[in-house]
Symmetry: C2
Subunit: 175 residues, 2 copies
Amino acid sequence: MLDPNADVYEAVKGLRVVRNFEDRQISEEHLDAILEAGRWTGSSKNRQNWAIIVVQDPGQLERLAECGDFTTPLRNAPTTLVPVRLPEGYDWDLGRLSQNMMLAAAALGVGSCPVTFHREDDAKAVLGVADDHGARFGITLGYPEPDAERAGRERSPLSGRKPLGAMIYRDRFET
Amino acid sequence: MLDPNADVYEAVKGLRVVRNFEDRQISEEHLDAILEAGRWTGSSKNRQNWAIIVVQDPGQLERLAECGDFTTPLRNAPTTLVPVRLPEGYDWDLGRLSQNMMLAAAALGVGSCPVTFHREDDAKAVLGVADDHGARFGITLGYPEPDAERAGRERSPLSGRKPLGAMIYRDRFET
């Protein structure tokens, strides 16, 4: 256990997506540190039933962007990570892995945005991922474009959250 | 974007499970802060297709413990959170939610351990969760029992990780 740390709490609670990025590629040092934070993520029975594809090839990024309905951030970003669910893995573990990498990225000054591949089979074909694996989500990465980030937040309809009272139940789920 | 912060990076990379807890219940202040960090987690299209059941009733905890194969941490913990996947939600988003709550807990000095309900239908029956919802995972919470934590880490076969070279691919997945 780490000592209680208010900065950590606020960073976890405060993570927000970045949809517009500088043109330059992220450094290998930052990429390695983000992947390393992913590598150390906990998983069910520590099975780590995942792999991560680092996509930086412009042709591959363009083909991936065709596989989802809202992939503008992917087109704007120099790097996209695609966590691959290995057979017997859980998407829940991949979500944990992805959240860790996005939080680690933010702690390094790297912005991120999740994207969904609504046509997952197409994404798997682009990436050479077998039928019994999963690749439904990606994480775009890049250095934030500050003005665009602020403008995006002001415009976005996706910035609020439901109140706690709309999502918390005690001991049983009653709807 | 927050400013780069090495403490945040290390906390994200360094989260580890706690399996043994003090007998006392966690404070309402800590519980609320953990749920609040969950509430602010990002989700696909910000749909927040989730709910969270806070289980503290001893009978409910005992019944839940029967729904998984490795639930000793749940029996040891005074609180278990069960994220519920609403219809059209994704387990990937619930993994993000769960990782945020576990990291927020650690930042507050609260230990956590994920548990899997291998008999998910039984868990849903215990919790009153409908068929078209999901409730496969729980998060146990409590104040760490320091000596037991250290002993557990030394004994655990679940503490290592695969090397990056075993999980990272470039542009395509080649196995």
